[in-house]
Amino acid sequence: MNILSLDTSTESCSAALLYQGEIFERISMTQRSHSDLILGLIDALFIESRATIAEIDVVAVGRGPGSFAGVRIGVGVTQGIAFARDIPVITISSLTAIAQGTIAESHANYISVAIDARMGEIYGANFQVVDGLAILLDKEQVCLPKKFKFIKRQEWLGVGTGWAKYKSTLTNNFAGQLKEVNAYCFPKASSIIELAHNEVKMGKLLSAEQALPVYLRNNVARKKGEG
């Protein structure tokens, strides 16, 4: 199984390739240049691995939440590649990808992910590690930091940019249950490959046009008469 993956949902822009059992990855930090970078990162993976696009079986993508435009760049590029090559897509939560990316180093069992959602809110979700995979315990949410709480008395690892921006509120929410905080964590395409592998096994393959963003924040405009 050869998998191409990418994520452009946050200030990290990354692409990875699982080719003949080996993982190749490129990561670039950027605020607004995802569209300028992402295909170049992907192209570099093919040059480095000597794989060809025809050998790819699945494209996996971080489908959000995150920056609206960033999420659409990743999903749009994925749609284009999958449609062109007539191959299926796996969509992975960017929050799950963040959690997954911290497992190897931290050996944490419980991971709470919170990233800055602007407008005074965070995108957050809580995970348990089972057999080396981050499994969602509750549901992904967009909420005020003060409403984001742990859901089990455990030793939690807090990760994501939300933990830096709302440090005091979140550590307060997790008082007595927090082992460590590592705010500087972003979704990585290689983590998406680890998660996608399992999703493929479970048969959660989508067609290119079924691969769509998940924004979480859906009240983006007021209708006439709504003040």
Partner: protein, 335 residues
């Protein structure tokens, strides 16, 4: 050579395939008007969210209808600007990556070049050089066109686009969004010379436009009248007559100044019947329009512009893709 065109600059998703041997093969359009009408105007974020759901299904339909697979496409053209940044980015992401994965070139197209060339899709197309009047909800441009990519901007609106003012005055008169077309229909019931609106910037030389003053004039006229159904129609007619006469005066000036005899009119407002009638009164010129369905945004004009540019160049193989929400048309160069 077959070019797939993707248009997603505002609130319509347009997809088409143009074949340089067989001309336009197929085109499909999905309009988001209903989605935005509840908000009284286009909501950029909602437009972007809709485009990413519609582009691939439309590409699929277009390929099926043309009985082609995407492996039989030779280039992908997508609108790279001007327009809503987020909406453009969706078409660019899909278009550029589709081309990359198929190992074919992609071409970033200027939306207004698409409109400008759209009459060339018709039988009996205009021949270069010509004057182009591009009028829509986002633009009012007078351009001297010597060939593909050889454009000189002669005049543009200093404030609101003419189509925008149609919509805004419709709103003042209490018509539903987007009211430009409704306003034009209503004007047919208006009594001539009941009100006299100014013809902005016509009593001094130059080819620029200014339409926003007409909004204030309409507002004041509406407030100080009886606000009956007939008043509404009378104001609609008075405004439309003023806007059209202004456009026609500038077209005549542009033709005279450049000594050209061919006029091309495109963009959403070019569908306006009263405008067309008035333009036919200009003596000794050829006038060309796109077919009515191609007056507003569509994928066919993007596929066509892509084909015209691709024939003369390699298309872009840069891996990065960019959108330009503001992109002056005279920045373009020949392919």
């Amino acid at each position: 050579m077959r070019v797939l065109g993707i248009e997603s600059s505002c609130d319509e998703t347009g997809i088409a395939i143009y074949d340089t041997e067989k001309y336009l093969l197929v085109h499909r359009l999905y309009s988001q008007i209903e989605l935005h009408s509840e908000y009284g105007g286009v909501v950029p974020e909602l437009a972007s969210r809709d485009h990413i759901q519609k582009i691939l299904p439309l590409i699929n339909q277009v390929l099926n209808q043309a009985q082609l697979t995407c492996l039989e496409i030779d280039a992908v053209a997508y609108t790279a600007g001007p327009g809503l940044a987020g909406a453009l980015l969706v078409g660019a992401s899909i278009g550029r990556s589709l081309a990359w994965a198929l190992n074919i070139p992609s071409i970033a197209i200027h939306h207004m070049e698409g409109h400008l060339l759209s009459p060339l899709l018709e039988v009996n197309p205009p021949k270069f050089p010509f004057i182009s009047l591009l009028i829509s909800g986002g633009h009012t441009l007078l351009v001297e066109v010597l060939g593909i990519g050889r454009y000189t901007l002669l005049g543009e609106s200093m404030d609101d686009a003419v189509g925008e003012v149609f919509d805004k005055i419709a709103k003042i008169l209490g018509l539903n969004y987007p009211g430009g077309q409704l306003l034009a229909n209503l004007a047919e019931k208006g009594r001539p010379n009941k009100y006299k609106f100014p013809r902005p910037m016509t009593n001094r030389p130059g080819l620029n436009f200014s339409f926003s003053g007409l909004k204030t004039f309409a507002m004041n006229t509406w407030r100080s009248c009886g606000q009956t159904e007939q008043d509404r129609a009378d104001i609609a007619l008075a405004f439309q007559t003023a806007a059209i006469e202004t456009l026609v005066i500038k077209c005549r000036r542009a033709l005279k100044q450049t000594k050209l005899h061919t006029l091309v009119v495109a963009g959403g407002v070019s569908a306006n019947k009263a405008l067309r009638t008035k333009l036919y009164s200009i003596p000794d010129i050829d006038i060309h329009y796109p077919r009515l369905s191609f007056c507003s945004d569509n994928g066919a004009m993007i596929a066509f512009a892509g084909a015209m540019r691709k024939v003369n160049s390699g298309g872009e193989m840069n891996l990065g893709f960019y959108v330009r929400p503001y992109w002056p048309i005279n920045d373009l160069s020949p392919p």
